[in-house]
Symmetry: C2
Subunit: 375 residues, 2 copies
């Protein structure tokens, strides 16, 4: 992390929140950004939920990296989530490191929580978001939308606060992590823990960060975000002016130097303990288990309009996982449409230029807006 | 590695070998094991090629771990590769760490090569094997067989020494690594390099090994060896008596503790510099590129009988990769059969109990043996 992180717009809740683990966390800060204007009826709010390493900077440059917002192609004037029409809110998740209460936050004694930060769940994150939505004076959200872990939050919103959600768009998501998802996350965590600079999570005391472990974790995760086709197209087997006589660790394959770059830029903006906290929350998430093993019960009586989106080449959250959710929604007689977008970009497709995805999204939201009476 | 590794049966070649990189490596030791007896016609030899982290202990307990040989289900009396009928040879690859010349071997000054060990290629490994086969007085191999990287070596044998190979069985293999394969390997290497105990590859000087980095590398690779179904069946989401209130790094999911065990047992038997050397050789392997981009030229005029085997749930070396090889063999008018075994075990299926695979293998070898006049 940058030694002097930027100030973040945030809401503070002195009363805090009792977490699913039983621990009471207070106070709680939720950092967030908004785009567009709330209409007089307060009926046009869209809550965007970010993914594992995302944040609230959806449609504006990131204050640490200076890169464009992570969903500028989707959120903005004239975009599928049209900020001329909707009031868009995005908050950094509880346990995150971009201003919301998380492992970087100070405890009573002034030092950061670090590894002692209590375990948070997807339901905790969503309840913290609901506190923010309350504070913004919004009773009912027009739409909750997000990809990957953001999509898990959308499902959790629909399950926990169904009447407050007019429309829900879980993208490239799942109602639980697969064994493979968990295994990849566990190796990420092990890579971080294996870095001596991790110092059992108390790296803030030494002034260092477990940069190498975090970079390795990020590199591995990055592979899982791309399809084989996307990896091949981007890098293939193009050599970087080297041959079999090159020394180990030279940048022989472009894919390697790319991954190294991804890994090292990531550690500048992300806290290792947050990575551990949030990946655990993803692994614990199991909406069916929370409802006696029957996912349809999570959505019993739901009047929310769902639009599930998956991408054909996504092997991390494959279409089959979205289909499980769609089937559960059908069993609970919910209003659900399910679109698999043909794409060869893999899991990351939801962050990239995918015209069919944009068209699907814009169409669904327009239809819902008409029903909801949003001009 | 164990501080006092066991002695290995080996052949020494004082003249050494000029590697593809141009460097001359001498002397060369090739550690190997044999099972069964060479017949009078010297026509019944089967060369087994091991995978990335395999070794020559095919059908007998491993001297370091005490575990059964890695292919006891396939090689032995009455097994598909019947040691009552065939003379089986398996050698540790050049660059390995089980007795063949590799990064652990001493240089002129008596200290290990370590990170200065020259880069070796699949073709170099195969030429070293051919030297051993020469030394054993075998002109023509009845069969060359192997899975994963072993299958790459089978293809390299067929390309480099076609007339010396009567039958070839590349299993769960490919003629080149995909971008995804390379990316996973690169993260493995980065995990090793990120471990301070790696000491830029000169860890032998400090008496330590980069155990954490190597364990992380192995954990990640292990995920890629299993299908999602196999991972789910083995571990699923069964909890280990913990819940969301557990501390970070507790063994919450069984899959996690399993992976940790896999990682730590691996570092006892495998050298980090060997891991780097061999994964590089796999990444560099590109049989089509070696033949003007036309894989069929690698097998031009081949009289070898090929049996390609893939496994339906293998996502690391998917069936499509074997199909590319089969099509190239067809274009070169070679004698080829191609079997995709239905299995839900993933890439590791070639090491596991797969009756259809055993039947395929035994049938192909028996047919070939008849043609070759082996009793």
């Amino acid at each position: 992390m940058d030694p002097s992180p930027p100030p973040h717009q945030h809401a503070s809740f002195a009363e805090g929140l009792t977490l699913e683990c039983g621990q009471h966390l207070a106070p709680i800060d939720i950092a967030y950004r908004t785009y567009g204007s709330l209409n007089a009826a307060r009926s046009n709010a869209v809550l965007v939920c970010h993914a594992l390493t995302g944040d609230q900077y959806v449609a504006e440059p990131h204050p640490v990296t200076g890169k464009p917002g992570w969903w500028e192609s989707v959120v903005g004037p004239g975009r599928p989530i049209d900020t001329d029409r909707y009031f868009v809110v995005c908050s950094n998740v509880l346990g995150g490191c971009m201003g919301s209460t998380g492992p970087l936050s100070p405890r009573d004694n002034g030092t950061p929580w670090g590894p002692d930060f209590p375990p948070v769940t997807m339901a905790d994150m969503v309840r913290a978001q609901a506190m923010l939505i309350d504070a913004l004076g919004i009773e009912r959200l027009f739409c909750v939308i997000g990809g990957s872990m953001g999509g898990m939050q959308v499902l959790q919103w629909a399950a926990s606060f169904g009447p407050r959600v007019f429309a829900a768009v879980p993208i490239a998501a799942a109602a639980h992590h697969s064994a493979q998802n968990i295994a990849f996350n566990e190796v990420s965590r092990q890579a971080i823990a294996a870095d001596p600079d991790f110092a059992a999570g108390r790296y803030w005391a030494t002034g260092t960060v477990p940069a190498r472990g975090l970079a390795v974790a990020r590199m591995m995760a990055h592979i899982t975000y791309l399809s084989e086709t996307a990896l091949s197209r981007k890098f293939g087997r193009r050599l970087r002016g080297a041959d079999a006589g090159a020394t180990m660790f030279d940048d022989i394959f472009e894919v390697e130097s790319y991954l190294r770059h991804q890994g090292s830029s990531f550690v500048r903006r992300f806290d290792a303990n947050s990575y551990l906290t949030i990946t655990r929350a993803m692994d614990w998430f199991d909406l069916a288990a929370d409802h006696d093993g029957d996912l349809s019960r999570a959505f019993a009586g739901s009047r929310t309009r769902f639009c599930l989106v998956s991408f054909s080449s996504d092997w991390l959250f494959p279409t089959a996982q979205s289909r499980v959710v769609a089937q559960a929604l059908n069993r609970s007689a919910a209003n659900v449409s399910f679109v698999e977008i043909r794409s060869d970009k893999g899991h990351d497709a939801f962050l990239l230029e995918e015209p069919d995805f944009f068209t699907t999204l814009a169409g669904f939201l327009s239809g819902c807006a008409e029903h909801a009476g949003i001009k």
